[in-house]
């Protein structure tokens, strides 16, 4: 016997009411690939589990009127990957989400869960930050929107009010000549946690960068938006000098920890290297070089 309660509301309003009523003792269940492990390890003991996957808008991918995309917080990586159009417009976001765990994990794990787990090393988060995703949040006081980079507060902590639920990510419309990419450094090729992750989104006009967003994961208590790196790229033709300046900005933004996965010095160095490699892929996708 157990005193845990499982709820599977069918509407967002119902979910918000049920979650708020748990007064901090509830947990949201999307793919469950972090939650169930934390429960089994005794790290979490929620009184109520609110499964959000029966709520249609949580599991849907929709094109917005202006040509962007709205991705429900509980959409799994596998569903993202199989979407016919999303991968063409936002390949970096799709790839990053599909770096999380194995094929089996991708059948369940969601970008919403990856964000709300609050790990600085979550792979989908830097890609969403580079993409300029806006997060829709709903709580007892209503609906609000936050740029994705404002959601994490620290490892395992979020800038959400009690009772608030992440509902969806909105990716903006893409100007012509745009591309995004995400790379992570891991010592093996699959099934590992990022030592450093880097997301880049670029828009090029005749080879010149007109817009850029750069993000880093696993090098600070939260995923970082690195505005100085983006500034170094904007206006350039991605020449060596501009890339070196952006790489230096990435290294300068790092505030990493020393752990078994990598030292402070290693992570700081790799952040710059990854920026160059990720920018090259984003540029190629943008139709530059």
């Amino acid at each position: 016997m157990t005193d845990i309660q499982y709820l599977a509301p069918k509407t967002l309003d119902e979910a918000v009411r049920a979650f708020a009523a748990t007064a901090g003792k509830g947990r949201i269940l999307a793919g469950g690939t972090d939650l169930l492990i934390q429960m089994r390890a005794g790290i979490l003991n929620p009184g109520v589990i609110v499964d959000i996957k029966k709520i249609p808008e949580m599991t849907a991918i929709e094109e917005t009127k202006d040509g962007g995309f709205r991705i429900g917080a509980a959409v799994s990586g596998a569903v993202l990957r199989e979407h016919p159009k999303l991968k063409k417009v936002w390949p970096g976001v799709v790839e990053a989400t599909n770096l999380i765990g194995s094929t089996q994990i991708q059948g369940r794990a969601s970008a919403g869960g990856n964000l709300c787990n609050g790990s600085p090393a979550g792979d989908s988060v830097p890609a969403m930050v580079a993409a300029g995703a806006v997060v829709t949040i709903q709580g007892p006081k209503g609906k609000r929107e936050l740029p994705v980079e404002k959601v994490p507060k620290g490892p395992g902590r979020l800038n959400l009010e009690p009772g608030e639920i992440v509902v969806a990510f909105t990716l903006p419309a893409r100007p012509k000549g745009s591309g995004d990419a995400y790379l992570r450094m891991i010592p093996r090729t699959e099934m590992d946690i990022a030592v450093v992750g880097c997301g880049v989104s670029l828009t090029l006009d005749k080879g010149t960068v007109t817009a850029a967003r750069v993000s880093l994961g696993a090098v600070a208590p939260t995923v970082l938006l690195v505005e100085d790196a983006a500034k170094a790229l904007i206006g350039s033709k991605l020449d060596d000098a501009a890339l070196a300046k952006a790489a230096a900005a990435c290294s300068a933004a790092c505030r990493p920890i020393d752990d078994k996965r990598g030292t402070i010095a290693y992570r700081t160095q790799v952040a710059g290297v990854l920026l160059k490699r990720t920018a090259a892929i984003a540029a190629q996708r943008a139709g530059g070089k």
Binding site: T2, Y6, A8, G32, Q104, I105, M191
Partner: protein, 159 residues
């Protein structure tokens, strides 16, 4: 707290069971439903020995709550063979692509799901698709070759 009543479909058959909120799908499959083909290797989603399909997509049943199965369509290794073994099962026997056998049900479920989506995978694609299926005997090479050969046979048969 009262038990949760769940109605679901397993291998095409309707099933009903009672479970606790935190009980895993794997636990219910192996316990009340008596389907012990899915194995618990790690219980943390790393090894893939508990791989099942939910609405034709592979997942680790140790990382799914049994309560989530309500109204879903599940597939387990017990449903893989019809009157005859599935071509993957036959090929695994032929090529001795298993040693202790603990990982085999999960590997077969994952490989079947790959071939349904991609009848002509490269070795690279097979290895990445099966990256979440750990073989504690480290017999990966025979597994990968058996999947590749099955794919080739099935393409031949479909021609």
């Amino acid at each position: 707290m009262a038990k949760i009543h769940v109605s679901t479909t397993v291998n095409g058959e309707p099933h009903e069971f009672l479970c606790d909120a935190e009980q895993s799908m794997l636990d219910v499959l192996r316990g009340p439903l008596g389907l012990t083909g899915s194995k618990e290797g790690c219980g943390s989603g790393d090894c893939g020995a508990c791989t099942i399909t939910v609405n034709d997509r592979i997942v680790c049943s140790c990382l799914m709550l049994a309560a989530e199965a309500e109204g879903q369509k599940l597939g387990t290794i017990e449903g893989m063979a019809g009157e005859e073994l599935h071509p993957l099962q036959t090929k695994f026997l032929e090529m001795a692509a298993l040693q202790c056998g603990i990982c085999t049900p999960g590997v077969l479920m994952a490989a079947k799901s790959l071939l349904e989506r991609n009848p002509n995978p490269t070795e690279h694609e097979v290895r990445f698709w099966l990256a979440g299926n750990l073989c504690r005997c480290t017999g990966y090479d025979k597994i990968v070759r058996a999947v590749m050969e099955t794919a080739a046979d099935m393409r031949g048969a479909a021609r």
